[in-house]
């Protein structure tokens, strides 16, 4: 499978590139929008929340504390949500291609993940610039985001693959998940800190793998400390299980899927 992916790297790279071109086609500013859009988001979360609304995290003295907390959570959640929501429709959206061309089907999740990672790299790069400029850069601990990122992508792609295959056969899955992911967002401490939850609810967060992942991002970026590795164990197991389940489901149903599209 890895060999197939390597062999198709040209197609995957080309698809990511074309996806970008397609998004900003017929616009006058073109590629500038790829930066303007996330820039606006960063500005909203930093300037507005910290300066205008004067939001403060409990026990946090820094002026930008809440902004950084919010960005860390929202950017990592955004990556996860983008991969999952696009992966659940990837087979349906590419039905035309699946029915007419013979290529390694595993390219599709790879394209979805690469696309989301490119978007993430742009917006996260801007955010990093903001951290550097405002003197909030956490230092060497920043490198620990990489394993977190790997875990998050594994989680997202595993779940996305499961949903993507199921969605071909049971379209209700896609509809259901659109609702579900909204609840999931608010059940994850992204906008609010976990500390404000009542203890009974806070204990339940252990069943939310994304809470651990976004928590890791917040730890690194806001507090400049290593993520709670032990707390990430359930999320890692969950990611592994989803990847195995997703690949098995995909292998078993890939043939039938084309008949169904």
């Amino acid at each position: 499978m890895l060999r197939a992916l390597w062999h198709s790297r040209g197609f995957i790279g080309g698809s990511v590139q074309r996806d970008f071109q397609a998004r900003y086609r017929n616009t006058m500013l073109g590629a500038a929008w790829t930066v303007l859009n996330p820039l606006a988001m960063i500005v909203v979360y930093t300037v507005i929340f910290s300066q205008v609304m004067q939001s403060k995290l409990p026990g946090e003295v820094s002026r930008f504390g809440y902004s950084i907390y919010l960005c860390a959570g929202i950017l990592s959640w955004g990556l996860f949500a983008e991969i999952v929501t696009r992966a659940q429709n990837m087979f349906i959206d590419n039905a035309n291609l699946l029915k007419k061309a013979n290529f390694p089907r595993i390219c599709l999740p790879a394209i979805v993940a690469s696309n989301a990672l490119v978007n993430f790299a742009i917006i996260f790069g801007l955010f990093t610039v903001f951290l550097l400029v405002s003197g909030q850069f956490p230092g060497a601990v920043f490198a620990l985001l990489l394993p977190l990122l790997v875990l998050e992508v594994a989680l997202a792609i595993g779940l996305g693959l499961v949903l993507g295959v199921l969605n071909v056969f049971f379209r209700d899955v896609g509809q259901f998940f659109q609702i579900f992911i909204q609840f999931w967002f608010w059940l994850t401490p992204v906008v609010y800190p976990a500390a404000i939850l009542p203890p009974a609810l806070r204990d339940l967060l252990v069943f939310n793998p994304m809470a651990a992942v976004t928590g890791g991002f917040q730890d690194v970026l806001l507090h400049g400390r290593a993520p709670d590795w032990a707390g990430l164990l359930p999320a890692t197991l969950c990611a592994l299980a989803l990847c195995v389940l997703g690949l098995r489901l995909f292998r078993k149903r890939a043939g039938e899927m084309v008949d169904e599209l």
Partner: protein, 442 residues
């Protein structure tokens, strides 16, 4: 390189009575299947050697496209296996999975990458692809503004930009104009001459005869015949006309090894077969397509090209002498009956029509219950193509070819195919004027 081996191949789609049934089957795998298998293809076995040009023919829904998809690998078989050796280029239906919002150029790049070519190679080939497709500035427009012909042009250009070991073409060429079709066929012929294996679906028997040396006739999901294109075309035409031989499947078991096409051209007209009036009297009246006129005064009980034994022919070699026999059963006395026929091509253009009145003949009169059998003997000097036959019976001719009453007019009562004559001169147009050359060099 280029061989295709298909063994025990079968494809079934799962049909579930309700959406819940599928869920139940997935969640409760031990409770047994809840779907009905709908078989599209069954027991397909054949081997195509490298460099063969093979046609797949059959009516719509016979399973041809599914078979091509299985060979291409876009669909997986339910049972059996497909083995192909070498690079496969496939043109399935329209397009190559083109993305409507991307420009032609971007789609070419994508399709090329899907075919396993790297970006540099495609850039090198791009001018060639553009030139062959001949769509001009449209190459930089999004594919959604293309006509179906333009999409096909581009798809064909990309799929064939490098000679593949196996080329699979599914009816795609039917949408192009004649000039582009010719260009495609030239390229295909070049490929097959260079050793490419061709698998080709077409409803145009002329094309099949022209480029293929073997044909698989697919009927109801099985290979009903594997062998000479001409025989396969006969079977197909017979099925189209609604009287497929029942023993076709049995004969396939002992199908002959492919033989080269040879159309022998009898110079003599087929001898007149005996007219069995009693049989004609009990025959079922023929009916035509929309626009036909049927009255209670007479029925058409036979209209076909027949051989010396009276057997109907649907495939006729070009320039061959033929006998067109038209039989009518009169239900009342007719004082001056006249029989006529009309041959039209697929565009509806009349290539020839006449009737006994215009031929200054007087076949009648006929009394009630009598049979009028008229045979027209002529050389089929028409271009290899598909034609339709229209026949009519009038009574009381006058003026330039009018009739007091039209008793029976069967519009496009049947179709027939004129097959190329390998031995004849090459010509194009509608009718072979068979010129005799006298030349001198001075």
């Amino acid at each position: 390189m280029g061989a295709i081996t298909v063994s025990g191949l079968g494809k079934a789609y799962k049909q579930y009575p309700t959406r819940w049934a599928r869920l139940a089957e997935w969640l409760l795998p031990w409770s047994g299947p809840r779907h009905r298998a709908h078989w599209i293809l069954q027991d397909i076995d054949f081997h195509i050697a490298a460099g063969e040009a093979v046609a797949l023919i059959g009516i719509n829904g016979a399973g041809k496209s599914t078979l091509l998809k299985l060979i291409t690998g876009t669909t997986l078989p339910t049972v059996g296996s497909v083995a192909t050796h070498g690079r496969v280029a496939a043109l399935l239906e329209l397009g190559l999975g083109f993305h409507p919002d991307f420009t032609g150029r971007q789609n070419v790049l994508m399709a090329g990458q899907l075919m396993g070519l790297d970006a540099d190679r495609i850039t090198t080939l791009m001018p060639e692809i553009e030139a062959f497709a001949g769509i001009g500035d449209y190459i930089d427009q999004p594919v959604r503004v293309y006509s179906s012909g333009m999409q096909m042009r581009l798809a064909f250009s990309v799929a064939t930009c490098e000679r593949p070991d196996i080329l699979i073409v599914d009816e795609a060429l039917a949408v192009g104009d004649v000039f582009f079709q010719q260009k495609c066929f030239d390229r295909i012929r070049g490929f097959t001459a260079a050793g490419t294996t061709l698998l080709f679906v077409s409803h145009s028997m002329g094309t099949v005869m022209n480029i293929c040396d073997r044909a698989l006739y697919i009927r109801q999901g099985r290979v009903a015949f594997d062998g000479a294109p001409r025989t396969a075309a006969d079977r197909y035409q017979a099925e189209l006309l609604g009287h497929a031989p029942v023993d076709a499947a049995d004969e396939a078991a002992c199908a002959p090894i492919p033989v080269a096409v040879s159309v022998s051209v009898p110079t003599e007209a087929p001898a007149a077969p005996p007219v069995d009036a009693d049989r004609l009297r009990t025959s079922v009246a023929l009916s035509g397509s929309d626009g036909s006129i049927v009255t209670a005064h007479a029925d058409c009980v036979g209209a076909a090209f027949v051989d010396a034994d009276g057997v109907a022919l649907t495939n006729i070699g070009a320039d061959q002498q033929v006998r067109l026999r038209i039989d009518y059963l009169a239900h009342r006395d007719l004082d001056d009956p006249h029989v006529g026929f009309k041959i039209r091509n697929r565009h509806g253009i009349v290539l020839f029509e006449t009737n006994t009145y215009c031929m200054h003949q007087t076949p009648g009169p006929v009394s009630a219950g009598g049979v009028l059998s008229a045979s027209f003997v002529f050389a089929m000097q028409l271009a290899p193509e598909e034609y339709t036959l229209t026949v009519g019976l009038g009574n009381g001719g006058y003026d330039e070819g009018n009739f007091r009453e039209v008793l029976n007019y069967l519009h496009e009562v049947s179709a027939f195919m004129v097959l190329p004559d390998a031995a004849a001169i090459r010509w194009s147009g509608m009718t072979n004027l068979a010129p005799r050359l006298e030349c001198a060099t001075l």
